[in-house]
Amino acid sequence: MIEYEKILSQRAVELKPSGIRKFFDIANQMEDVISLGVGEPDFKTPWSIRHAGMESLEKGKTWYTANAGLAPLKQEIANYLSRRFQLDYDPQKEIIVTVGGSEGIDACIRALVDPGDEVLLPEPCFVAYAPITTLTGGVVVPLPCRAEDGFRLTPEALKAKITPKTKLLVLPFPNNPTGAVMRREHLEAIAEVLRGTDIMVLSDEIYAELTYGEERHVSIAEIPGMRERTIVINGFSKAYAMTGWRLGYAAGPAPVIVQMLKIHQFAIMCAPTTSQYAAIEALKNCDEEIEKMQLQYDMRRRLLVDSLNKMGLTCFAPEGAFYVFPSIRVTGLTSEEFCERLLYSQRVAVVPGQSFGESGEGFVRISYSYSIDHIMEALRRMGRFLKELGL
């Protein structure tokens, strides 16, 4: 009999399984649940992109691609980053195509972090950075972001946690779960702290196309002195509604990209070929599709923020991604209690904020990647729930 506890990697065993897995399983199986819990677009991949994927299959393009990705795709990525975000990268040396943004994050952290290195993590945030850091032997240092600051990372919070061991700052904006956005002036302030140090930045810009208001997303790589210390992670999942295609990319200084490419090639060879052909069509011809989806998200966002505030669940107006992050303190419940009771009482599923880091306690994540009618029904039920609580 093998005693598995003894033979398994301690690092793997010690990874905390997501505490709310059980809650999700219940929500996913319950009938008549109105969910506002998913983290992916409700739109289907635009038809021309799907068609490009099918066409590549019809032509029998079913081989591996070059490890770093198809050359024409890398060229289109370079064009896209320059066209939409004023970033200039050499498609030969500074861009690799990855399996979703997720794999880019993994390769980036593994290429930079040695055991004992500290990785700064603004929280609340996407849940993958911390376990990947732990697997490399790195040490996660949370940087709590506060509602008062619009859940942005402040230079003061950053400075307070920098030590001689600081290797990497993760910059996850526009942010999942808060919807916070770092505008140019906020990034300037962060850059001011980092310039002249050896601290690198992993800028996760997967929601870059989903910002609302007059100004577009600004990448920290565009701020003077930051390009050389920044790896930009982006992908097709959110902007083009292509989550299932598993395709993303990383762009950064060649010496880092070379190391990431090694890790990528040994781990998985190359990103899916069909997806890469489809992505060329996305980048070439689908700017308008992005705009259309963005417009829909924006209307839903306004509706949700307004209704939640009127209900007494105060939320600051999120400027990016497709989440709102209202405070539930007025109910006196913890975020997990709130979510469980809302699910059982009114069959509405939202995600406890505390699952995205301690500073998310007292908040819940509500996704608006749903139709307006769906959102309105969920809001009606949430209103009933608050009445039950006597609010």
Partner: protein, 159 residues
């Protein structure tokens, strides 16, 4: 204010308050814009989109293609206007291609529609020929899905 029209075309029952929030306007602005659209005929009405198959009501639909002889000086105008007067006729379009007018006609049953074509449409002077196609099943109408919708396959996740 095209966004407003798009929203109303999607769902005419959004309240002005809801529309205002979604569009980032005031309720008054929305009310004024809608009134203007109604006055100028940009908005022609608000009707429920009924799926008659789900009711006990006997109702069938047919598409009728008509070839006509256009009248000197009036073109297709006169005959189109004559046909649109019949209350059985729900829509009348002038078409390019193989025929001239496309009609949607409704009736209680097959026979009623057949009688309408035989006794009212065909005898009209300018009508040369008609081709009647009965609707067997409606899948989608004016953007609304009438058959069972796809399930949302997305899962709850932290990602």
């Amino acid at each position: 204010m095209d966004k407003l029209l798009n929203l109303l075309a999607e769902n005419a029952r959004y309240t002005n308050a809801q529309l205002a929030v979604m569009l980032g306007r005031t309720e008054d602005e929305v009310a004024v814009a809608i009134e203007e659209y109604e006055k100028t005929g940009v908005i022609r009405g608000y009707k429920a989109l009924v799926n008659w198959d789900k009711t006990g009501e006997d109702k069938i639909f047919a598409r009728i293609e008509i070839k006509v002889t256009p009248k000197k000086d009036f073109g297709f105008e006169e005959i189109a206007r004559t046909i649109m007067e019949f209350e059985e006729v729900e829509s009348v379009y002038l078409m390019s291609g193989g025929y001239d007018l496309a009609l949607t006609v409704s009736g209680k049953n097959f026979k009623e529609v057949a009688m309408f074509v035989a006794h009212r449409l065909s005898p009209l002077d300018s009508v040369n020929s008609t081709a009647t196609h009965f609707v067997l099943k409606k899948y989608k109408e004016r953007g609304a899905i009438l058959v069972e919708e796809e399930q949302d396959e997305r899962r709850m996740t932290l990602l």
